[in-house]
Symmetry: C2
Subunit: 110 residues, 2 copies
Amino acid sequence: MGATKTDHFTDKQNAIATLAKALGHPARVAIIDYLLKVDTCICGDIVNELPLAQPTVSQHLKELKNAGLIKGEIEGNAICYCIDEKIFQKLQNYFTSVSSKMEVKKSNCC
Amino acid sequence: MGATKTDHFTDKQNAIATLAKALGHPARVAIIDYLLKVDTCICGDIVNELPLAQPTVSQHLKELKNAGLIKGEIEGNAICYCIDEKIFQKLQNYFTSVSSKMEVKKSNCC
DNA sequence: ATTTAATATTGCAATATTACGATAAAGATT
DNA sequence: AATCTTTATCGTAATATTGCAATATTAAAT
């Protein structure tokens, strides 16, 4: 098939998977890195920062935006892309939760 | 094309992307959920917990293992799968780092 | 030694992703 | 208005992922 069976999983599982999937490409991780590095979020030069053609970068930005990891607003001729803090906190919470659950069950595990 | 251009990104970016990608499917998130829930890590019944056929589950387990998110050991007739705490901590650190960097640059952003 | 039980592998079809050239769209500049 | 600059979209080729039936593997149980 090739289509993910999202129906059979919980909303939470699907939500985490969607966010993780969006970060599942080095170019998209690199975009986040860059957005964290630059002072402002006017980011007209992301294309120059990546070893990919402009349409490819645009596509990756779109995916990050669809997943909610970044926000984008048209600013005259350029576009202002910024990280959406809240969504990253969601992921942080998830991994913190996993780690603390691991801490609890440490003794039972191999 | 279709092949990710890993060569042009940093090791760290590729590492995060690989881990995120491994969690980029609800079935694999569900597997992690289940491993966290059960007391021991003898997990011969993962297949019954998921709405997917046995070969599909096996494949997802393999991917989680390849990414390093879980460890698997043959235990007689069954297999003992467990979460690899260290790797999850790596992800936790990443997201904590992103969040704290966001905290710093809050004022400059849109 | 057979059978049973649990997991892995193979092979394949359906679909998704990645990448980019060509082109479009839209505001800025001249 | 014509041009430039920046970003998005379309179309398409190459590759990857998802899912499962069929089969293999391996060890325990009979």
